[in-house]
Symmetry: C2
DNA sequence: ATGAGTCAGTTTGGTTTTCCAACTGATTAG
DNA sequence: CTAATCAGTTGGAAAACCAAACTGACTCAT
């Protein structure tokens, strides 16, 4: 009997479980951009209000965002990212970059000129000693 | 009259338009991992077969994946990422990292020791002159 | 104090997706 | 001939989604 293979256990799937629903990541984008009021989030994302309510509740439940009461009569809340939520920034940025280069026409990542006059190419150095850091100069010291 | 504000035009939203549907990103994950047959993708993601068919068609249409015929009688196809699709790797990785640290228990990003003996903190230098590069030393030279 | 407007939702009722299990049809393996 | 593999289809029910209207507690300008 084939053991009816279960789907791969994977943190990508786990992450999508949390922020993979429609609108969730756009809500996070808005919060990153500083929008914190229900109506503004609704307008800027385009999400239906009832769905937005559901997403905000779920994201709060899962610790991605927090509600702050900014008025008590009537009770009014604003929404803020927690650390867990702020840590989604790289995800949103990666998505933005992909969208820029592959969906919008806007190709071309930014090009900079260093004060030395050359086109800037980044090189990673050790902040402590200033020397160039690369494969052999680095040793992983935690599991 | 309020001008009925339209949702924010944004490459994050544009990207999600393409790979934001349920299962799409898990399909990409599987293709990144090298799974290329319909049945395997179905099993590893857990996606219903009809939905998977729809996603594969759409991702092909949008140029994220390609079908390759690997048998002609009966016609059988395998799926491969295009460049556009491979460029989603950072997105999947960012998601994986977030999932690892915030959804699964597995915290702790890797910590390295530089050959100088200090815990490694990266500093970005100009590859041409070797000097430290930061805000004021960089000038953007393209739109 | 009346009426208009703001804000954060909730309700309604209809449309669209998703889901699952079973089925098809072509082909190869035993 | 029979069973198994593979890549889908099909049908029907359950869940999610949607737009627009509505609530209720307020504020502000007349």
């Amino acid at each position: 009997m084939t053991p009816a293979t279960a789907p791969r256990e994977c943190s990508v799937a786990a992450a999508l479980e949390v922020i993979g629903e429609k609108w969730s990541l756009l809500v996070v984008r808005e919060l990153i951009l500083g929008t914190d009021k229900f109506n503004d989030i609704a307008a800027n994302t385009g999400a239906p209000r009832d769905i937005l309510t559901a997403r905000l509740r779920r994201l709060e439940e899962l610790g991605v965002i927090e509600r702050e009461e900014y008025s008590s009569r009537p009770p009014r809340y604003s929404y803020v990212l927690t650390k867990k939520g702020r840590d989604l920034r790289p995800v949103v940025m990666a998505l933005k970059h992909w969208g820029d280069t592959h969906v919008m026409g806007r190709t071309m990542p930014p090009v900079y000129e260093h004060s030395c006059g050359e086109i800037f190419t980044p090189a990673t150095h050790c902040a402590a000693c200033g020397e160039k850091a690369g494969g052999a100069t680095l040793t992983r010291i935690n599991p």
